[in-house]
């Protein structure tokens, strides 16, 4: 069918050149149609629905949805729990992305040479990536159990009494961050391993001849070459900290006292526990805007660093 359209278009194109672009457009859209249809059904239409919902709410308890203007957004920003979730997410982002990046780079540099031992270690560091986050969180639930958990069991042998890892508002977020770093560092290592292959050996040779120490080589040779990789991993890492809350759901449900509540989990709470679809939609839009801003700015730096590398 598509083939037929294509050939006729081509044939006519020779005689009447004016028609050619329109036929090509039709063909392009015909070929795009299936995926456009599904994109529209499952992406754009829901986005429109969320926008609609964010401007609507119940005026009367148990009543129908009515237009409420920006009220959902005003209530959202006035909610201390939302501000807390926003702050938590910021700490969570900084506290997981940077350590995971540093660890991943360290692993990659240590294991960059291909050998049997290194292959084994690469596999070991990559293992956490293969475990679904929900499953990983369920395992950590047992590690973190106060008194009986693996962590406290070993600490007790050293006569140290462990903390209430998930039940202390000062500690819980850090416990969750530790899990995230453990889960993601191996994944990012993979990108750095690939990135390191692109660093030319003669660059190192030149640096060594110039008398550069290991730190200087890292600072002035490795890192500049890895810039695009770092940029890319940064985007993925930032997207991860906003879009993944499975472990919060399994381990703490945002508690104790909202100390581990993250944006996406807050939205879930509004929609499900509070049964306030309007505020949940408003929260979703705010999160979406943040994500877009983060991605756009990171991608721009990414492009710039790609551009820089070109001679």
């Amino acid at each position: 069918m598509a083939q037929a359209v294509f050939t006729t278009g081509k044939a006519r194109g020779w005689s009447v050149p004016r028609w050619r672009p329109r036929q090509a457009t039709v063909l392009a859209f015909a070929m795009l149609a299936p995926s456009l249809l599904f994109l529209a059904l499952f992406t754009y239409w829901p986005v429109l629905q969320v926008i609609w919902q964010s401007l609507h709410g119940q005026l009367r308890v148990g009543g129908p949805q009515a237009y409420v203007g920006p009220q959902n957004f005003l209530k959202l920003f006035a909610d201390p729990a939302f501000r807390k979730a926003l702050g938590n997410n910021l700490i969570y982002a900084l506290g997981t992305v940077i350590p995971s990046l540093v660890l991943a780079l360290g692993f990659a540099m240590a294991l960059v040479k291909s050998s049997r031992v290194n292959a084994l270690f690469r596999a070991l560091f990559f293992l956490p990536v293969l475990i679904p986050l929900v499953a990983a969180a369920s395992i950590f639930l047992f590690l973190f159990l106060p008194n009986v958990g693996l962590l406290d069991y070993h600490l007790a042998k050293l006569a140290i009494s462990g903390s209430n890892w998930l039940g202390d508002p000062d500690v819980a977020l850090w416990s969750i961050m530790a899990l995230t770093i453990w889960k993601n560092a191996g994944y990012y290592m993979l990108f750095f391993l690939a990135g390191l292959q692109a660093v030319p050996a003669d660059a190192y040779e030149a640096a060594i001849l110039d008398g550069a120490g290991p730190w200087q080589r890292l600072r002035y040779v490795t890192l500049p070459y890895l810039k695009p990789t770092i940029g890319f991993v940064l985007v993925i890492g930032l997207l991860n900290v906003v879009t993944q809350v499975d472990h919060v759901f399994v381990l703490t449900k945002g508690g104790p006292s909202d100390s581990t509540n993250l944006l996406l989990f807050y939205i879930y709470q509004q929609a499900v526990e509070n049964y306030d679809a309007g505020r949940a939609a408003a929260g979703t839009l705010v999160m979406l805007a943040l994500l877009l801003a983060v991605t756009a700015s990171s991608l721009r730096t990414l492009e710039r660093s790609f551009g820089e590398k070109e001679p």
Binding site: N147, N164, L166, G167, P256
Partner: protein, 443 residues
């Protein structure tokens, strides 16, 4: 290409089976039952067995069990199905969600169905323990049928009692005895506690329920049973209860600080790392099967009176289920809550059978004789009261649970915490209150 063809074939086969299935089931009313499993996987199989038997006994109905996760997830999935215009015919719903569902117009009274069976509401509800009526009968109309229920219970490791030179037959009955016993049972290695005297779960959902038990044991009520817009957080009875819990942590040092999850508490008890705990009667079977030491259970210790909240779930029919499907759902509900089935489910899970007559069946009498702990749990129903339920139950409960966590972590005093919780709960319930109790004639 082969994969595509295979997928197509599979798709066609699937479509055909969909098209054929209604034809096969002609003359049958198809209904589905949404059910949560709050305990473990075995129960999902038990539910399958139960409904298979129902289908065999009722050839005109084909009931399908649909596993829907936890209580909270079951609520979400039910609401999603209703929004999609395909409500399940019956749902096993957490008993304290019924008021919320009623306020939102998502369930309707079952009075007409009861009347069609030639019974009055009182006659119908009379078959269930009195303590369960409060969460099922709202404004004198029946909105749900109790299916399986629980109360908090004191579990004690009697080996530890003997070891500490205490009488294993005398369990703490009041707060005074609880503190002295817990102090004797707590073991320390320098500054490090190797065994706690007492543990109570304080994670979301569980914490509120346990705090309600302490408040009621302290003479309090927690919420207005007759009106969904009032909670009594900032009151002396609640202050006493919360201070007592906080004292166990900071003053008597017999209870670990911070939030303890339900699973962590039962785990610590089974591992011998806590000697006593307050936990649901729904965990009885789990503890009985896994404890490697003798244990005993007792009523929740009192300060002012013996009183506990109920927990568990009721069967409801969502709004939008009409005609034959509604009748079929009603048949299923009655079948599942009849004495025989109720007793069977209770033995499988550890929950109470809400139907009083279940305890007169020979199987159940024998079971209680063999497991006296289950008998004590049932006796506590005499002093049980309705479970906390208001407009927007979950966030109103979370308001105090967040403060409870702060108190147990030493971040706030009980007095400050209760004032903050009251303020927040009032704020959440304000829309409802303004449209009900504060909606007054203007001229």
């Amino acid at each position: 290409m082969t994969t595509t063809r295979r997928t197509l074939l599979a798709g066609a086969a699937l479509a055909a089976s969909f098209a054929l299935s209604p034809a096969c089931a002609q003359g049958q009313t198809e209904i589905e039952l949404f059910f949560p499993v709050p305990v473990d996987g075995q129960l999902a199989r038990d539910m399958g067995v139960l409904l298979k038997e129902f289908n065999e006994k009722n050839p005109t109905i084909k009931a399908t069990p649909v596993y829907t996760g936890s209580y909270d997830e079951t609520l979400i999935k039910t609401r999603a199905a209703m929004k999609a215009g395909k409500p399940p015919a019956a749902v096993i719903m957490s008993a304290n969600f019924l008021l919320d569902l009623k306020i939102e117009g998502e369930i309707h009274p079952m009075d007409a169905l009861i009347k069609a069976d030639g019974k009055t509401n009182d006659q119908f509800m009379g078959q269930f323990f009195d303590a369960l009526h409060g969460n099922a009968v709202l404004d004198r109309q029946v909105y749900g049928v109790p299916f399986h229920n629980s109360t908090p219970l004191l579990y004690v490791n009697t080996d530890h009692l003997k070891e500490a030179g205490l009488d294993p037959d005398k369990l703490p009955a009041n707060w005074e005895e609880l503190v002295t016993t817990a102090k004797k049972l707590t073991k320390r290695d320098g500054d490090r506690v190797t065994r706690w005297g007492m543990m109570m779960p304080s994670n979301y959902d569980y914490g509120g329920w346990i705090l309600q038990a302490l408040t009621q044991s302290n003479g309090g009520e927690w919420f207005n049973v007759n009106y969904g817009g009032e909670v009594y957080y900032d009151t002396p009875s609640m202050l006493g209860a919360l201070t007592f819990w906080s004292d166990l942590v900071t003053k008597h040092k017999v209870h670990p600080a911070g939030v303890q999850a339900g699973g962590a508490v039962s785990g610590a008890f089974l591992a011998g790392q806590t000697s006593m705990m307050l936990l649901s009667t729904g965990s009885l079977t789990h503890i009985r099967n896994n404890a490697k030491f003798p244990y005993k259970v007792a009523f929740v210790p009192k300060n002012v009176r013996n009183a506990v909240p109920i927990g568990g779930a009721s069967l409801v029919i969502p709004t939008g289920v009409e005609g034959e499907r509604r009748k079929a759902a009603w048949t299923l509900i009655n079948w599942m809550t009849a004495p025989e089935k109720s007793a069977w489910w209770s033995r499988a899970t550890g929950y109470f059978a809400p139907n009083k007559a279940a305890y007169d069946t020979p199987d159940m009498k024998e079971f209680i004789a063999r497991n006296p702990d289950a008998g004590i749990a049932v006796k506590q129903l005499d002093v049980a009261k309705p479970w906390f339920a208001t407009y927007k139950t979950v966030p109103v409960r979370k308001a105090i649970e967040d403060e409870l966590a702060a108190v147990l972590s030493g971040k706030k005093t009980p007095k400050e915490a209760l004032a903050a919780a009251q303020k927040q709960a009032d704020e959440i319930m304000r829309p409802f209150v303004e449209q009900t109790a504060l909606k007054l004639p203007t001229n």
